[in-house]
Amino acid sequence: MRQNWAEWATLAVSVVAVIGVIGGLTLDGIFTDAGPPEPVVELQVDAAYQTETGWIVPGTVSNDGGEAAEAIVLRATASVAGNEEENEITLDYLPPGTDVDVSFGFSAEPDGEVTVQTIGFRLP
């Protein structure tokens, strides 16, 4: 039996999908510089909000490096009502190029800037 248009379409989509996946991975393997992980944190202080359990500062963590990081611990520090407050969060994984939404909590609105430090991570 001769092929109908649906079979040709299936073949075309299949070829594109297979070439896309294998080609994408191959190009990535050849051209992407596999540098170490570089966690970058961007806080959205304007979007911070008060809750019953504290002042929440949302932010985004991304990885500008070439390799993924595992078990990343980040520490946020800020001065709240004259006292220095610290808190830590742990991310299971931070793949390169992917944004992870996080939030840091403080007892009240910080007086000044919130700084975030990478405490450490594991390499896969």
Binding site: M1, R2, Q3, N4, W5, A6, E7, T10, L11, V13, S14, V15, V16, A17, V18, G20, V21, I22, G24, L25, T26, D28, G29, T32, A34, A68, E70, D92, Y93, P95, P96, G97, T98, D99, P124
Partner: protein, 297 residues
């Protein structure tokens, strides 16, 4: 391909595609719901994923070649069918990952492609099975003879073909376990004598499943002509294939990196126990002698 040939109705093609997607999900869903599969998409280097895809493609080609759903095919047709199988696997995996919220706008392209590449492997195996095994025999009268008996008559599959299918079955089964952390724990924590017990237990059980337990597709204890066609040698060979497949998967998922030899051996033996059952199931699928097939129908 003459003009007089009738065009296959689109309706039939659509039904084939739905069956392919259904079979793909049937086999692929457990791994679509496995966290380690999502994480390995970015933890593994690209080339390792490409190697895994290559192995999967060889298995799909081999399965299509052995399975009888369209026996008389040229190599080109076989390749086209296999590319389609992988392609449908990729599309189904993509849709499933989107619906499950595993890939989205915030996912990097590399991460998304990695996830699709890993998840399309079990889905493609399912698509392949749907083509060869799950198709209803009266689907297409022309193919019914070859299709009805499933991969069917063992006469068409030699000892090596059977071993190849055993490898495919081993890969399919072990793939469900290999990305998780359990084989590592089992392998590291097992005492040496426990490992030595697991080997004969695995061999005895897989031997019994294929040659004694009277499953459909099981075979008698009679030996064939080829040295591999003896129940004992075939069981041993299938176990060896299972060990190799286990080692390949553990290596691919980074479970052998920086791990001591003792722990690697432990992991391989523990995973091979699972792989062997897949190998046995695969051999049941390609079945026994023609006579036994006739008895079954």
């Amino acid at each position: 391909m003459s003009k007089s040939e009738p065009v296959k109705p689109v309706r039939e093609t659509v039904r084939d595609l739905i069956r392919a997607a259904g079979g793909g999900l049937l086999v692929g869903l457990p791994l679509l719901y496995t966290m380690e599969m999502w994480d390995h998409s970015f933890l593994l280097p690209s080339w390792k994923i490409v190697v895994l895809l290559g192995v999967a493609f060889v298995v799909v080609v081999g399965f299509s070649a052995v399975s009888g759903f369209r026996r008389e095919r040229s190599w080109a047709e076989l390749l086209i069918d296999s590319v389609e199988t992988m392609g449908i696997g990729a599309v189904v995996a993509t849709v499933a990952l989107l619906l499950l919220g595993r890939i989205g706008l915030e996912t990097s392209l590399r991460d998304a492609v990695g996830k699709i590449a890993l998840e399309m492997i079990p889905v493609a195996f399912g698509v392949s099975l749907a083509g060869g095994q799950l198709a209803s025999p009266d689907d297409d009268p022309e193919d019914a003879a070859a299709q009805g008996s499933s991969v069917g008559d063992g006469a068409g599959v030699g000892a090596f073909g059977r071993l190849f299918i055993a490898g495919g079955g081993a890969l399919l089964f072990a793939l469900n376990i290999a990305p998780t952390e359990e084989p590592l724990l089992l392998g590291v924590e097992a005492e040496w004598w426990l490992l030595l017990l697991v080997i004969p237990a695995t061999l005895a059980m897989t031997f019994a499943i294929v040659f004694y337990a009277d499953f459909r597709g099981g075979r008698s204890l009679d030996a064939g002509d080829s040295p591999l066609d003896h129940p004992l040698t075939e069981t041993l060979a299938a176990y060896a294939v299972s060990l190799l497949v286990s080692l390949l998967l553990l290596w691919a998922f980074g479970r052998t990196d920086g791990v001591g030899l003792r722990a690697i051996i432990g992991q391989v033996i523990m995973l091979a126990a699972v792989a062997s059952f897949g190998a046995a199931a695969g051999r049941l699928l390609v079945g026994g002698s023609q006579q036994q097939q006739q008895e079954a129908t």
